[in-house]
Symmetry: C2
Subunit: 322 residues, 2 copies
């Protein structure tokens, strides 16, 4: 059993990571976007990392995904009564995690060390790794001006038209030792780009200097899973963003986002008609059901992704021998 590195964020990424953890346990490193982190009441909220922690600890709300099951909002209700900041309805369980994170960061620990300790406290087998320890802030340039993802998503309900993205601070960021170690593992079996939004989840991770090179360096197959099914995003605003950026809204366009990086892409069975065209552009393709409704679905997709990676590796080896 080799090791696997998954990259992603948000609910879709966490779902696939959860499936991969069931197959590879401690041999999974899940590298998570931190470009949407924000400060709130002196706490350093890291929404994609938190979503990953809840999913991998098995305590995520099955419907919402981004918060713990049974979440309550007593602190938020009191903040509203006290006319405090109200824009972020941070739940009580989430807040406990933020308080521990903030305390550990104040004590001088890195975001990576803090996250690994939270994994341990939550009984998570896999390693959840922030994409780097340096602050990166994704800025959405829209017709309503420059926005953080929180502003765009929570305050403005994804309504502004997106014109471009900027990953502030990414050029100054450095790969963490833990991410490098995971990507340089001798037994690295596959790198998986989870079905997350390419623009504000995957590209920030790939914008950390050296990340693209490190992904390819081990020689393990790099496989993306499309977040677009039948021309629509399953969750979130990926399809809307692709349209506004003048991209085709399709799994093929997703593959093109990762050109030069991935060996193959897993697309939904509903998009099987696109397979030949994608193959023609030089990517390996697997078309299977990718919508993850249940734990069973997550496990099944994870298994198919890893089997596809194995097949891609074999084909590469055959091609190299020829």
């Amino acid at each position: 059993m080799g090791t696997v590195v998954a990259l992603g964020g948000q609910v879709g990424g966490s779902k696939l990571a959860e499936g991969l953890q069931r197959l590879r346990g401690r041999n999974l490193a899940y590298v998570v976007n931190t470009g949407d982190d924000f400060d709130y009441l002196g706490l350093q909220v890291s929404p994609d990392v938190d979503t990953a922690l809840y999913a991998l600890a098995g305590i995520a709300d099955p419907a919402k995904g981004w918060e713990p099951a049974g979440e309550t909002f007593a602190v938020h209700a009191m903040l509203m009564r006290l006319r405090g900041p109200q824009q972020i309805p941070l739940g009580d369980r989430a807040l406990a995690l933020q308080l521990l994170r903030a305390e550990a960061l104040r004590a001088g620990r890195t975001p990576t060390a803090v996250t690994l300790e939270l994994c341990q406290r939550l009984g998570i087998e896999a390693r959840v790794l922030p994409m780097c320890n340096d602050p990166v802030r994704t800025v959405l340039h829209t017709d309503a001006g420059a926005l953080s993802f929180q502003d765009y998503f929570v305050d403005l309900k994804c309504e502004p038209e997106v014109r471009g993205f900027q990953y502030g601070g990414a050029d100054q960021a450095r790969l963490s030792d833990e991410v490098l170690e995971a990507l340089h593992a001798r037994d690295l079996e596959a790198v998986v780009l989870c079905p997350s939004n390419p623009y504000h989840t995957m590209h920030p991770i790939l914008a950390v200097p050296g990340m693209r090179e490190a992904l390819r360096k081990g020689g393990a197959p790099v496989i993306a899973v499309s977040p677009i099914i039948g021309g629509r995003a399953l969750q979130g605003s990926a399809a809307k963003m692709m349209r506004e950026l003048g991209r085709e809204v399709s799994a093929r366009a997703v593959a093109m986002e990762y050109r030069g990086l991935i060996d193959g892409i897993v697309i939904d069975g509903a998009d099987e008609g696109l397979a030949e065209g994608i193959l023609a552009t030089g990517f390996q393709v697997l078309a299977v059901p990718t919508y993850m409704r249940s734990a069973e679905d997550r496990l099944k997709l994870a298994r198919e992704v890893l089997e596809f990676a194995r097949a891609v590796r074999l084909r590469k080896e055959v091609a190299a021998d020829a």
Copy 2:
């Protein structure tokens, strides 16, 4: 209608302050002990100030007094699950207030300014004033070593034998402008020492340099209310401490704690037998029911305290004329 300054802390103090607020509204300044403040998860918890805020906002739990009614502990439960610090079961509503306080303090506001803003946010008429803006930490010297009040009260359940008190930092503290202004008010009608623990609630306040002088300066009568009834403390550990410090456990001994400072003392009707002896030591005495079970009791005691203060002032004026 004149102005009133009350000094105190904990539940007993807050109850009388609540009664005084009903009589004097914005003309009440309640100066509160901050010697038991502590840091917890990066938050600056000020237990006596918080208890005062809940009481004066009318949201205190009627039974417990020190927490908001309907308090829940979802954050604390998650902290326990995360194996975070568990010794302080900080409630969810309380936490909202701590988050706002911490944010305002980080922004450079003084504890007094922060508390006054919390008063406003909670719709409190009176001014709740921390005894000073400088850090003062009460240390209990006990047979189990030097302890903070939190350690003594929460962790050790008041079991160690108390040998003495130290008000760390008090000698460096300065009276705040707001406390000085309240005590120098031209129309100051009375200064009330609430029925709080003399050692870790009242003495820390009185240890702020200049406080004793400022209390006497305006010439208004200074009246204490005994927290000891029939040789027992109604709440908390005052009686146990008095015994361990070798004091008599009585309203008379309470009066002696404030020698040179107070003009008179309100004792409970049950202690009427002590009145003559206290009078003989030079204090004016009023014996009335002092146990505050209901809002009606709090209002009634507040009214009697202020009427007694008026009577004491008249007697002083008559004595001065004679």
